[in-house]
Symmetry: C2
């Protein structure tokens, strides 16, 4: 019996590469691809899926919120998170959302295959770097861990757009909310993360993987 897999990542090339990688195991069948959290939910509602390989950095609804909603509707689903870096905040958030595995894109492809097999057996799998991150988070006193700055879905969405260079007015237009509301989210982000300007927010967004590390496009 093959495993029906949904690939969720905003980069088509990466999805194709993953598809090629997973093709090495005849037991694994990629039945669909999604480029955003909204697409993931729509596809999972429309056809049977066993496992989702979910990038946390996607435009619109990100991987964390998508995982939360996905598992609320389809509790039997298994989710494996993917991101460029093992940021403590996003690792713990995604695991709290119900993901069974988490590996960084820096790992070898075999790591993903191992994660899929392990997760299918009902166990969890974290790549070494992520495992160390989680261990660090737990070691730094459970109290602090519980009180750690947890970003809301809206805050992550705003953070993503700030890191793309949009102004509060532009973000408001994009999300169909007032610019003043965007400013509130911006201030809450800075307070929670103890960062105080756009440059630091952008660095955090890129490092945490919520925003892809690509060259900005310029005005053209």
């Amino acid at each position: 019996m093959s495993l029906r897999i949904l690939l969720a990542d905003d980069h088509q090339m990466f999805r194709h590469a993953l598809r090629a990688l997973l093709a090495r195991d005849p037991e694994l069948e990629v039945v669909a691809e999604a480029a955003s959290g909204e697409e993931v939910l729509a596809i999972a509602d429309a056809q049977p899926v066993d496992l989702v390989c979910m990038d946390i950095a996607m435009p619109g609804m990100d991987g964390i919120e998508a995982t939360r909603r996905l598992l609320a509707r389809h509790p039997a689903l298994r989710v494996i998170g993917l991101s460029a870096f093992a940021d403590r905040q996003f690792v713990t958030d995604l695991l709290a959302a119900g993901a069974r595995g988490y590996i960084t894109k820096g790992e070898a492809g075999d790591e993903l295959l191992r994660a899929i097999r392990t997760v299918c057996e009902g166990r969890s799998y974290l790549c070494p770097e992520v495992a160390a991150t989680v261990a660090d988070a737990l070691r730094d006193s459970p109290g602090v861990y519980a009180a750690a700055p947890r970003l809301t879905a809206r805050e992550r969405q705003v953070l993503q757009l700030i890191a793309e260079g949009l102004t509060s007015v532009q973000i408001g237009d994009r999300l169909h909310i007032a610019a003043s509301t965007v400013e509130v989210h911006r201030r809450n982000l800075m307070r929670k993360l103890d960062l105080h300007n756009v440059a630091e927010l952008t660095r955090y967004a890129i490092h945490s993987g919520i925003s892809p590390n690509v060259t900005p496009g310029g005005a053209g």
Copy 2:
């Protein structure tokens, strides 16, 4: 006859890792380490060095400017550039400064050993990703290439500090110049790169490798 190597990178851990890597070849002897461009010049003036492994992202004088000045004083020296990404601008700038090799940190360690051996034989060595970048730069018409936005040493320095979240006043204090002068460099950067806010400058700095991709420090 062993090869006297100088390692230049602002991260001690990376220098140590490189040292361990190079120790696998008994012909290679790491005779010194530097954490900035200024240190590289001082060391090369004080003791004989055959080859420099130079990170382009260093605080103060970066690897490009350091390579330019280094080769002006010691033309027989060989320089191999290292960076996190194969940004077109910085690759071409470093090669124009006289570097004989360029590899990204994403490559395996064997790639660096191969580069060192090749460069010592008097030939140039570029890792595949960098080679492709250079090819692209040349293919996109020599005219455009010549007219490409070339950043000055001072501009790269200012860009680095902008990406760290410093204000123009703070950057001016750090570099011992007026804040108004920093604003000029900032505007020239934005004009040359066709970017128009701190977020995009920060993305560019991180992606190009001039600024390390680390989590911002908070107010601490």
